[in-house]
């Protein structure tokens, strides 16, 4: 079957198979993506990130339902960690989203990180494109539970929602670099717990110190996702953000930067593969490794030599 054409005609099986082809790097993957690419770029991509247990999956479930109520179709990519030891994974985000399963306007795909360390899997961005091409209006990317430095989501999303909960740490945590710097919108979830006012103040103080918020100060919204509280307001805020990006021309800038990053990453990957294949075939690589390891050669001149021979 022609997966790309069937996907564009609305087949959910083709959509699912396209993601598998890309995730496993089947030979068919590039052809599929070539056909789908002209149909991408329409969806509003929202990243949802935050520490483990903050309620990202439950919040995603509730946000998706609110967008559905407004008549929009929704794609969800839910990333969970792959075991570095076995290569296996337990992907459990669907547990919180079971009520969405039978809604034909929603498509949920779980992915393991498969060795990627930035909070996403290597194929998350392409999976988003596949869902985009299938016509989804809004696409959520739910990252793995993050600590402080897993910030790949910014590169993949138009709007980044950082989900926090009260009681995770004192105000020193809030001025650390990383996850707290990337929020376009903050949600304090489980806002019926103690400590919510304090967290709110700490976040506001952190934002006060940021110098670069000329025309968008990240709003802080309170939610209790399990009780469906604050969800409408949060959706309205996410919509305000995308509208802001559109009106200021920042959306085009962000997407151009993303395209640039993706092109560079693809060049890097293909070049790396080409050289790897080439040096493996030549059979000299093992000798070079040995000579470097025994300090007969240094790695810098060896790399220069390898590249000079192959990139003319």
């Amino acid at each position: 079957m022609d997966i790309a054409n069937e996907l564009l005609a609305g087949s959910r099986l083709a959509l699912s198979r396209a993601i598998t082809a890309v995730e496993n790097e089947y030979d068919t993957a590039v052809g599929i993506m070539q056909k789908l690419y002209p149909h991408t770029g329409r969806a509003h991509v929202i990243g949802i990130t935050g520490p483990p247990g903050a309620g990202k999956s439950t919040l995603t479930d509730k946000l998706a339902k609110e967008y559905r109520r407004q008549g929009k179709t929704v794609g969800i990519v839910a990333v969970d960690p792959t075991s570095p030891f076995s290569g296996g994974a337990i992907l459990g985000d669907r547990i919180r989203m079971n009520e969405l399963t039978l809604d034909e306007g929603v498509f949920i795909r779980s992915m393991g990180t498969r060795g990627s360390l930035g909070g996403l899997s290597r194929k998350t961005a392409e999976t988003v494109k596949i869902l985009d091409a299938s016509g989804k209006d809004v696409i959520f990317i739910e990252t793995v539970g993050v600590g402080q430095s897993e910030v790949d989501i910014v590169k993949a999303a138009d709007t980044t929602l950082v989900v926090l909960v009260p009681g995770l740490g004192d105000d020193i945590q809030a001025i650390k670099a990383g996850v707290l710097e990337i929020g376009d919108v903050f949600a304090i979830n489980k806002a019926d717990r103690d400590g919510v006012d304090r967290l709110n103040i700490e976040l506001e103080m952190m934002l006060d110190l940021n110098q670069d918020m000329v025309d968008w100060r990240p709003p802080i919204k309170r939610t209790v996702a399990s009780q469906n509280q604050g969800i409408n307001e949060l959706v309205a805020t996410l919509e305000e953000h995308i509208k802001h990006l559109e009106e200021t021309g920042k959306l085009a800038l962000r997407r151009k930067q993303r395209t640039k990053n993706e092109l560079l990453a693809m060049i890097e990957e293909q070049l790396g593969r080409y050289i790897l294949r080439n040096i493996n075939e030549s059979g000299q690589f093992e000798q070079l490794v040995t000579s470097v390891q025994q300090r007969q050669r240094d790695p810098y001149s060896v790399v220069n030599e390898i590249l000079k021979d192959r990139l003319k």
């Binding site: 959910r12 099986l13 699912s16 198979r17 993601i19 598998t20 995730e23 496993n24 790097e25 792959t82 075991s83 076995s86 290569g87 296996g88 994974a89 337990i90 992907l91 459990g92 669907r94 547990i95 079971n98 399963t101 039978l102 498509f107 949920i108 795909r109 779980s110 393991g112 498969r114």
Partner: protein
């Protein structure tokens, strides 16, 4: 990147015990599979749709309530009806021996009853997955 075997571990029907399903999910993870776990009290329709969206190679059904003669074949029928004809189905839980032949006729490739070592499930999947 090599292909990973993806397994949907699902509990159809109304029983509220998933210790067994969780033990199996963990063992499959440790064997290098990607396990999608959807939680308790799933309808066959939900399980089939999740299998489609996740493009799994294996659907592992666990059931302790006695409703397996109805629910297991129904899941097989629905998954195949979605065009996923190469999925491997396995079942587990409290299943009387007398019921097993009928389940196999309905497309459940193997049934693992209490006491089965998890390694046997892993071996079976590795040997039979398409």
């Amino acid at each position: 990147m090599e292909k990973r075997i993806r397994v949907l571990v699902a509990k159809p029907g109304l029983d509220g015990h998933d210790r067994g399903a969780k033990v199996v999910a963990r063992a499959l993870r440790d064997a290098g599979f990607e396990v999608i776990y959807t939680g308790l009290r799933q309808t066959p329709e939900q399980i089939a749709e999740a299998a489609l969206q996740e493009d799994v190679n294996v659907v592992a059904l666990s059931l302790l309530s006695g409703a397996h003669p109805h629910l297991f074949p129904r899941v097989v029928e629905l998954v195949k009806g979605k065009g996923m004809t190469d999925v491997l189905f396995v079942g587990g839980g409290v299943i009387p021996d007398a019921d097993i032949p009928a389940l196999k006729d309905a497309g459940i490739a193997e049934v693992f009853t209490p006491g089965t070592p998890t390694s046997a499930i892993v071996e079976f999947i590795n040997a039979n997955v398409k």
